[in-house]
């Protein structure tokens, strides 16, 4: 059906909360209608997480909340004030890329790169879930992340390589 944007209204005054993002404490004062994606991008300066649709249909905004894959565009920020949030910026250790990041480069698992943070975070979460073993299962488990450039076969190859390397 046709959709239009009808946002929640800010019915309460701004409140202060401390968010735990990529292992750091980030104190912020925000209105209750701020969603987690906009908090990351517009308030915390973490623009790696992308807004592709703002309604949970594309997966570009995927982050880990307490290790679980979460669409940050569908999460109210204040509901996650005490949660451990991991974004694409939190995966590498210094200059050392996360194995999924390195595999994405090696297998050319992206083109424009816009869905890539969501694909990588989703793949990291999926590998931890430890259920997708075959290529078909990987395809299914990553089908919530749309890649318009069509890098899917290379994404599967990258994730499979990480999985097989243990």
């Amino acid at each position: 059906m046709r959709t239009t944007t009808r946002p929640p209204a800010a019915t309460d005054a701004a409140v202060s909360a401390t968010f735990r993002i990529n292992g750091r404490a980030v104190p912020l004062t925000i209105e209750p209608n701020v969603v987690l994606l906009d908090l990351l991008r517009e308030r915390a300066g973490l623009t790696g997480t992308k807004k592709g649709c703002d309604r949970g249909q594309c997966g570009a905004c995927t982050v880990l909340v307490n290790g679980r894959r979460t669409l940050s565009c569908l999460a109210l920020a204040l509901a996650h004030a005490n949660d451990e949030i991991t974004t694409v910026e939190g995966l590498a250790e210094g200059d050392r890329l996360h194995p999924v990041q390195a595999a994405f480069i090696e297998h050319d698992a992206f083109q424009c790169g816009f869905c890539t943070p969501g694909q990588i975070v989703s793949a990291v979460g999926m590998l931890a879930e430890n259920h997708a073993r075959t290529e078909d299962e990987i395809r299914e488990a990553l089908s919530g992340n749309i890649c318009r450039c069509g890098a899917y076969p290379n994404i599967v190859a990258a994730v499979r390589a990480v999985r097989e390397a243990g």
Binding site: M1, R2, T3, T4, T5, R6, P7, A10, E31, N33, D38, E42, G45, L46, T47, G48, T49, K50, K51, G52, C53, D54, R55, Q57, C58, V88, E89, L91, A92, L97, Q101, F104, I105, E106, D108, F110, Q111, C112, G113, F114, C115, T116, P117, D136, I138, R139, E140, L142, S143, N145, I146, C147, R148, C149, G150, A151, Y152, P153, N154, I155
Partner: protein
């Protein structure tokens, strides 16, 4: 000596930035204390705005301004040209007239995104609407289109009607393709700031210089006063090529408020405000002798455009040259509707035209009792039927041969529903791919400073195409340095000019310019190293020295050597050169065109009328391949687009209002990972040195062409049902299936 890297599978040099989230797309640009802009769009397709009530919107805490035609800075309408590529002849927010559902009518500006969005939802707009025409069926008279970017849209040779009527075997079939929407994952975005009378814009664009010239025209500024920046683009596929009104609106809002403005289109606005591929109805009449030799091709196209633009989907042009035929007629007509303006979408014309022609040829092969690949071979065009010129380089027959061998085509049995495996019908289809080899003038600059930092700069783009990487490879080889150490800067109108990143022309345009710039810097370095007193190489002749591993050495005494940095130190300033390249007489002497062969396999579960794509192979003749890794990705992406076109994508409008009802990614179906099988890609790799000195032809668009035809032909082969109306869905297969008891 470091081995050349052009032609090797080189990892993307922008890969690290993209996998770590450091790559900055337009909406990631940072401005101090910006205002957030949310666009409000018309909800009627034709009429006028009667009244706007701003009171509730203005009462939202944080809302700073509301811009409508009442207070918007004055700008004038711009007619489209390649110099000023404004997609719509419609000056935004200048009057109360409505030309389509989804037209921008207001913009709410607030200190936070949340407040702007809330204000936009509370803005009350009343319209006087009049009945709109949003379907081709609503229109009785069509306009005849004469031109598509310099090519004749009406073409004729021989006596096609008579040849058709006297042919031994004929096909007369009509194919339909729906409206489609580009939907790059990155929504269009413009971040605009005025520094006095200078405008700086971060824009999600495939053409910084096109956006700049449109802004220059709108605000009557010269080119020193407008800068457009777009270092990373999150996919474009054509919808970020020409300029769209939101870019001007962001700059207008920034001028009105005196603050930087961040404007990002919502996903639903991507369906109304940056183009689409228009629907087509294509009647194909083919006539052949009983041995399969084509005698007549008649291709009549009806398409649609808006009342404020002119773009046409030129689907019939492929019929002038894809197969050899002496008698050809191509016509294009268009309906003007109360809808937004269509634009180029990945292979405009070729994607839709190769579908219809590729299916008609398959139907003809069946009538003739010929293998469809054999029919394509027998009607191979040795010269270009449209221009009569020879091809600069054409190896389509080799694509057919290598593809057939790799795919195992000789194991195909001809009859529909004759191949089965594990309870499913298996179908194989084939079709021809093609896209022109275009090229435009381009420049690039190479700078090497006294610390040895090498910078390569051009106002071209990397939409995911691999441009950052391939030009680093070209420059690295030309300079004799490690390509990974080169800093590449793209997507900034302040850099040496380059054409639109569209029409698959960037590689062929920019890479020779990079090669030229690198050669000039190298020459300059030689001159300084050999000609400066105190240089260890002073006095040697050019043939007595050579570059390797970033150093210039004397051939007979390698200890006499200088790095580029040391040469720059000798010069007392950075080594720098701007190089350029442009097409020449070859454009008048040859037909410049890429070809390929698409082979697809589907499996059809008749109980569910469900089709799955299980194999796809593309074999392409695109000249020299500069980077097989990124080239393969481009082609895989094109084939994935073909899967979407064949089975999933359709922009559906409400027939009463013209509003898009599939204006989100749950209702507009894009292929997801589970829809896509393993995809095999081969290149015949014949350098086209007539086309440009690197021998490379573009790859952005050819990958989608022919795929929908190969898939539709495979579906027919599997199911026995010929669906001539994309997308092919279970409902259409069921409607065409024989009744079973």
């Amino acid at each position: 000596m470091s081995a050349p890297v052009v032609g090797t599978p080189f990892d993307r040099v922008d890969g690290r930035a993209k996998v770590t989230g450091e790559a900055r797309y337009a909406a990631d640009a940072r401005e101090a204390e910006p205002l957030y802009a949310v666009l409000v769009q018309s909800t009627v397709a034709r009429g006028r705005i009667r009244a706007i009530d701003e009171s509730a919107a203005r009462a939202v805490p944080g809302v700073v301004e509301i811009m409508t035609s009442r207070n918007a800075p004055r700008v004038s309408a711009i007619d489209f040209s390649f110099e000023v590529p404004s997609s719509e002849q419609l000056a935004p927010l200048q009057d109360d007239q409505i030309h389509y559902d989804g037209q921008h009518v207001a913009v709410v500006l607030a200190r936070t995104f949340e407040a702007a969005r809330e204000g936009a939802a509370l803005l009350r707009i009343d319209y006087d609407g009049v009945p709109a025409r949003s379907r081709v069926a609503d229109v009785s008279g069509f306009e005849t289109i004469t031109q598509f970017f310099g090519r004749d849209a009406q073409q004729r040779r021989g006596d096609p009607e008579r040849a058709y009527e006297t042919s031994a075997v004929t096909i007369d079939a009509t194919y339909r393709t729906p409206e489609e929407t580009h939907n790059p994952l990155e929504p269009s975005a413009t971040i605009a700031r005025w520094d006095g009378d200078e405008l700086v814009v971060h824009d999600a664009t495939q053409w910084v210089n096109g956006a700049r010239s449109t802004l220059m025209a709108a605000f009557e500024l010269d080119e020193t006063k407008v800068r457009v920046v777009s270092p990373f683009v999150g996919g474009g596929f054509g919808c970020k090529g020409f300029s769209w009104p939101h870019t001007q609106i962001a700059a207008m809002a920034a001028r009105l408020t005196g603050r930087p403005v961040r404007l990002v289109l919502a996903r639903e606005q991507m369906f109304t405000s940056c183009g689409h591929r228009s629907e087509t109805e294509q009647r194909l009449r083919l006539g052949a002798a009983s041995d399969g030799t084509l005698k007549a091709v008649l291709h009549d196209v009806v398409t649609a455009t808006s009342r404020v633009g002119t773009f046409l989907e030129p689907a019939g042009l492929v019929s002038t040259f894809l197969v050899a035929c002496p008698n050809v007629a191509v016509t294009h007509r268009t309906a003007r509707l109360d809808i937004p303006t269509p634009t180029a979408m990945r292979a405009p014309g070729e994607a839709t035209g190769t579908y219809a022609l590729g299916c008609a040829l398959d139907e003809l092969a069946e009538q003739l009792g010929l293998d469809p690949l054999e029919l394509l071979r027998r009607n191979h065009a040795d010269i270009d039927g449209e221009s009569g010129r020879p091809y600069s380089s054409k190896h389509l027959l080799e694509c057919f041969a290598r593809g057939a061998e790799r795919f195992g085509w000789d194991r195909r049995t001809a009859a529909p529903r004759s191949m089965r495996e594990n309870g499913e019908y298996v179908g194989w289809g084939v079709a021809t791919a093609t896209y022109p080899a275009l090229r435009a003038p381009a420049q690039a600059r190479v700078t090497i400073d006294q610390d040895g930092r090498i910078e390569l700069a051009s106002a071209t783009h990397d939409l995911g195409t691999g441009m950052y990487t391939i030009i680093a490879q070209v420059a690295g080889d030309a300079l004799g340095v490690d390509a990974r150490g080169i800093v590449v800067r793209l997507g900034d109108s302040a850099l040496p000019p380059a054409p639109v990143a569209g029409g698959s022309m960037s590689t062929a345009s920019v890479a020779p310019a990079v090669q030229d710039a690198a050669a000039r810097v190298r020459d300059r370095a030689l001159e300084i190293a050999l000609g400066t007193a105190g240089s260890p190489l002073h006095g040697l002749r050019r043939e007595q020295v050579a570059f390797a591993d970033g150093r210039l050495r004397a051939n007979d005494d390698p200890s006499r050597a200088l790095s580029y940095a040391q040469i720059a130190q000798l010069a007392g300033r950075p080594l720098e050169a701007v190089g350029g390249a442009a097409p020449g007489e070859e454009e008048q002497q040859y037909a410049l065109q890429s070809f390929g062969a698409q082979f697809c396999e589907v499996r059809y579960d008749e109980e569910l009328a469900r089709v799955r794509v299980t194999r796809a192979l593309g074999v392409y003749d695109c000249g020299r391949v500069l980077n097989p890794k990124t080239a393969r990705s481009q082609m895989i992406g094109g084939i994935v687009w073909g899967i979407g076109m064949a089975f999933l994508e359709e922009t559906v409008r409400d027939p009463r209002s013209g509003a898009v009802v599939t204006n989100n990614l749950a209702d507009y179906h894009l292929p997801v990972n589970a829809d896509v099988p393993a995809i095999d890609v081969l290149f015949v790799e014949k350098p086209d040195l007539i086309f440009n000195p690197l021998g490379a032809r573009g790859m952005g668009e050819i990958g989608i062409t022919g795929v929908a035809a190969a898939l539709a032909n495979a579906v027919y082969h599997a199911s026995g049902v010929r669906v001539r109306d994309l997308p092919i869905t279970s409902e259409k297969l069921l409607a065409g299936a024989p009744v079973r008891v």
